[in-house]
Symmetry: C2
Subunit: 276 residues, 2 copies
Amino acid sequence: MNTMEITKQADKVTKEELASLSPTELRDHIRAGRWTGGTEGLARGYAQANLIILPKDVALEFLIFCLRNPKPCPLVEVTDPGSPYITQFADADLRTDLPRYSVYKDGKLIDQPSNITKYWRDDLVGFLIGCSYSFEEALLNAGIPLRHQQEDKIVSVYTTDVDCVPSGRFSGPMVVSMRPIKDHQLVRAIQVTSRFPATHGAPVHIGDPSKIGVDLNKTDFDTGVFELEENDIPVFWGCGGTPQAVALNSKIDFMITHKIGHLFVTDKRSEEVAAL
Amino acid sequence: MNTMEITKQADKVTKEELASLSPTELRDHIRAGRWTGGTEGLARGYAQANLIILPKDVALEFLIFCLRNPKPCPLVEVTDPGSPYITQFADADLRTDLPRYSVYKDGKLIDQPSNITKYWRDDLVGFLIGCSYSFEEALLNAGIPLRHQQEDKIVSVYTTDVDCVPSGRFSGPMVVSMRPIKDHQLVRAIQVTSRFPATHGAPVHIGDPSKIGVDLNKTDFDTGVFELEENDIPVFWGCGGTPQAVALNSKIDFMITHKIGHLFVTDKRSEEVAAL
């Protein structure tokens, strides 16, 4: 599909029409405002990333925070200060190339626009942080089912009582996602996800949720909750909700993120960012 | 050996006396000024790291540079701005816990002291960057000999014509180390070093040196040069000399590094920083 054909299309496209597109073609639709929905299931096989945009005066502290907490905050790419352009994981503009954003002022959500051109300032820095879609695809390919997909829910996300390593004004508990894994598939699940350190990597905890301050029935987020079934082991991975929660708690006056589920689609295949 | 015994010792110790010490005991000797020599072969099994100290006003750009060039510049730990303390890879003070430093002012080497207490400023940031000793040990353990150790030389280091991905004022060519590997051990050498992304990881180039602008007989550094023998393949890895060369070229007015070969000894076993 070339740009001419895209331009001739109707204003909006359906998720089915997008399903077979490359990341570049998909971002063309998103940039033109024809797709403002979620990105799960799109551009399969390619890594997607969480977005956090912060003012330059806190960027060094935030970058150090991410380096100190690589499992919840795996850095994918950072823009030059003042620049909205991604150059390594795609050739893209962070102001327009995600389907929907969340804009925070003084810790309060003030807007969820489909582009942030009017909010851009020349002191902003964009951070792309790995998301778990890559390793979820790898789990499925390894024959390990994902309960939240089977039940058509969002993966369960919890705030733990495990403190991140702080950096400057950034501190707070680690946020994790939980996936029930059958005991006979536990070893394979650890092996498979270990290959993807850029997208949260190996689990941070296996088994008893209370050891990390989690009650499986009480999520702090608007996500799914699952009954553990026979032979299910709860397995916890670092979650990209961590840097967002930490940044919100840090009383920074301005922050832009992707809207939950509306991620940045990179040009890198998941296998290109795998460790081995 | 406890601290009392160390205090009673003569002013200086020999490398043989240090060989069996833990990283903490070794850093005690270094901090007290009793060891100002090189660290190769000491605290075997533990990761060592290159040191670069820069003013805070260039720290963000430098950190982004390292993230964009992870093979020559694998980040190990970054201090809080203004703080000389390492807290994750050891409990240590960067002003005193390396045996010897190089201090640069306006791009010129002005001092090589055994501590930098008098040079410390409250706007400095310390960067530890992985060094190749960890993967060299892993190569030896895998039965792959190291020519430079056999010939008692320093590993060959070359400046390539491959540009690093720039960040702000930091730009320049990648510096690499070369080790000749026998063709039947090439696959294993790649596998073994791939496990250590925090210490340069997998090779950046294999084979024909001219493809990356290298003449094996002409090193830009004061390092060894080797004749390739039968069945030798030249294998090139990213080198920690890269960030130092790039920082020197960037016309920063102040920088401190470790003196070549006089590295920071961490408390982490090489296997603890391995990818898998």
